[in-house]
Symmetry: C2
Subunit: 246 residues, 2 copies
DNA sequence: CCCGCCTATTTCTCTGACAAATCGTGCAAT
DNA sequence: ATTGCACGATTTGTCAGAGAAATAGGCGGG
């Protein structure tokens, strides 16, 4: 009887890219979570293929394909005789969407979340700046539509957060920089998980939709300086909304 | 007789993370290159498992593990009945070290290289700024050592470029931001390949080691503003050294 | 025209076997 | 005592074949 690790529960974000519908996928998921949450530490040896497959009643094939996935993301390294070892943290592809998602299935450290906000504060204002210069009318229309949705539902709702994601995504597309897009969409997804799990009540209630509108107008006016400033405000606000107890 | 795709030649950078010593690794490499260079386009279906394995005389197992690797990097998606399809470019993990390396086995487009420099110009100055605030004595010692090596060998030599990489790596470590590290080390590697393949003669000869020293001193003085400025200079210089015919 | 069943195709999983790589050991030569 | 080398044990890597599961597309009934 198959006896895989119990599922981690209802903390599903719906943003996972690796489908877990297949066995190799769920093994990769479970092992990946165990690695990034520190149950397996760098240098540790994963169970051998025979051992693992017999204990969990899956085939070596499925386990091996899972290890390939982890290896592709830099989490492990396999060699004959020594087995499959967890690699040093510096080698991990921390910006891989799956790795990041696995991080957030545990309780990411305060330092890591701080790092992500820091990175976001570096990336997104520049993206907004580029978007203000390069955006097309179609980009602007998408942002406007997302803005309407945010206004209609409010940022506290699921639909509102979705519209927020769409808004940011439109900005990134408008930046016309492919690597920047993949990077920033990953980061904003991670940050949104942070928001979901660690959000606290805002001390000074302020209209976040209005803040987004400021950014929208700056981009519409092709004003990169204002766009950067508006994005800085947005990110700072989000950061202040998160319990980090710095 | 095994009859894999002919190797792409002597353009080895020595920075590849995925070992190609195994069959599944070289299949993933070859297919990955074919995908990112556009031989297979988004929406195209990769050869079926039976077909591929028979034509190239490898086992289905090896081919499947290769596809797992590509799938983990967001390049393809497999489903029963429809086969394995190349995904849209937006889904590719462009910042995965392997994907980036595969890009540079072809002739990356001018736009893509421009994007990378743009990203580097966004990331590295901020990293230098953080490093100026957070660096330890050990960090500084490493940078100093790398600087000496650069001065001894000159930036035109292999050893010099290696020291340059070390210098930048030390700065990133000093920034104390893990995601930033993985990102920036990837980017600088990519940019260094660009430099190798597309470098042109500098019009106004200028001492690059001296420019690095300015950055080093700024970080030593814990002066984030000067550090940012120095890094901006360095990146701009590198960009001007690259044939982009903007 | 729409909905559910059926079928063909493809990936997915499993099994068992052998090949290849590599680390450690122990022996031999210096 | 140290160095070098062959060898054996262990683990991953590769292969072949069979069946299970999923799914797109066609077919038929309502």
């Amino acid at each position: 009887m198959r006896q895989r690790k119990e599922q981690t529960g209802p903390r599903t974000t719906g943003l996972n890219t690796t489908s877990m519908k297949r066995i190799h996928g769920s093994i990769a998921h479970d092992l990946g979570v165990d690695i990034v949450t520190g149950i397996y530490k760098p240098g540790d040896t994963l169970p051998g293929e025979i051992e693992f497959s017999e204990q969990l009643d899956v085939s070596r094939t499925a386990y091996r394909e899972a290890v390939r996935i982890l290896s592709a993301k830099g989490l492990v390294e396999s060699r004959p005789r020594t087995g499959t070892r967890v690699t040093e943290k510096e080698r991990w592809n921390l910006l891989d969407p799956d790795v990041l998602a696995w991080m957030f299935e545990g309780e990411p450290s305060v330092e890591f979340i701080r790092d992500l906000f820091e990175l976001r504060m570096i990336i997104e204002p520049s993206a907004a700046e580029l978007a203000a210069v390069r955006r097309s009318g179609a980009d602007l229309a998408r942002m406007g539509h997302a803005l309407e949705e945010m206004a209609r539902h409010g940022l506290a709702t699921e639909a509102g957060r979705e519209a927020d994601q769409l808004f940011h995504h439109a900005i990134l597309e408008a930046s016309r920089n492919a690597p920047l897009m993949t990077l920033s969409s990953t980061i904003s997804a991670a940050v949104s998980w942070t928001t979901i799990f660690k959000q606290r009540k805002r001390k000074l209630p302020r209209d976040p939709v209005a803040d987004h509108r400021v950014l929208y107008e700056a981009i519409g006016n092709s004003d990169p300086v204002a766009a950067r400033a508006a994005m800085v405000d947005l990110v700072r606000l989000a950061q202040e909304d998160t319990e980090l107890s710095l």
